[in-house]
């Protein structure tokens, strides 16, 4: 029986949904649809692709509920399905590979010291104060699009969806150290990219 003010756990709802309780399934859909939509937008780089990825995610969840054994948290299991659905959606749309972001990695002199000055180095962190918000939204999406796919999925889950590294590792089936390495590379590239947007070379 539901206790007022206490939210039924995802896992309990999933068990009921697996047993054919339709309202329990729809409660899970309502609980996660906004996060799955946002994740799909960020992974597909495209708001037009996100609704299809959202539908596909919950259709898969519905079909696979019987196989959800509760070894992982329901949300981890769901985000694994959602990540795959978004990536399938992305691949279905033929894309030109974006120009690499390698050029935006930090540069060092022969002694390993930063080549840029302190004021040049800090300006990327103020990109949001220096660029119009609408333009920044467009450029942010374009920059994330240009990341290598392996870095993109780790970065989106860890830094944009703010999942713990251990959970990202579980979603992607990687070691936490590998997740950290990929997220780090993505941060370095995107940091330089933001600097470039405000007129500073890395």
């Amino acid at each position: 029986m539901a206790v007022p003010g206490v939210q039924t756990s995802d896992e309990a709802l999933a068990a009921r949904a697996a047993a054919g309780d339709e309202p329990a399934f729809e409660m899970l859909v309502k609980r996660y649809q906004a996060r799955v939509y946002r994740l799909a937008c960020r992974l597909t780089g495209n708001e037009a692709d996100a609704p299809d990825a959202l539908q596909e995610t919950f259709l898969q969840v519905y079909r696979k509920l019987a196989s959800f054994r509760g070894e992982a948290r329901f949300s981890t299991w769901l985000f694994r399905i959602a990540t795959n659905a978004a990536l399938m959606q992305r691949r279905a749309r033929a894309r030109r590979p974006g120009e690499s972001l390698e050029a935006f990695l930090p540069r060092f002199d022969a002694d390993g010291l930063h080549a840029a000055t302190p004021s040049e180095l800090q300006v990327a962190g103020r990109a949001d104060e220096l660029i119009d918000r609408k333009l920044l939204a467009e450029k942010a999406r374009a920059g994330i699009e240009r990341l290598p796919e392996l870095y993109r999925e780790a970065f989106v889950l860890r830094d944009l969806e703010e999942m713990e590294t251990a959970e990202v590792a579980e979603v992607l089936g990687l070691e936490p150290a590998t997740v950290r390495q990929r997220v780090h590379r993505a941060r370095l590239m995107l940091r330089g990219y933001l600097g470039d947007l405000v007129g500073v070379t890395p």
Partner: protein, 79 residues
């Protein structure tokens, strides 16, 4: 003794540092280097700001009507 952490090697340690995954001795060396290096201090600030800026720039709310069409789609598939 030659310093182990310079700007270039320090940058490579940042993620592990911020996640608390760095061994104690390296953590202390990195902190000492960054504290004494204005370039690294500036770099670290922008490195830390990067996820926040991109997160805020890519917020997307569920469009109006999408919940209804999603639920209708799922009901049609379950029928």
């Amino acid at each position: 003794m030659k310093e182990r952490v310079v700007c270039a090697s320090g940058v490579g340690l940042l993620m592990d540092y911020l996640e608390g995954a760095l061994p104690e001795d390296l953590r202390a060396e990195l902190e000492a280097h960054v504290a004494s290096c204005p370039r690294c201090t500036a770099f670290v600030a922008s490195y830390r700001a990067t996820p926040r800026i991109l997160r805020e720039a890519t917020l997307a709310a569920l469009p109006r009507g999408l919940e209804e069409s999603l639920l209708a789609f799922l009901r049609s598939r379950r029928a």
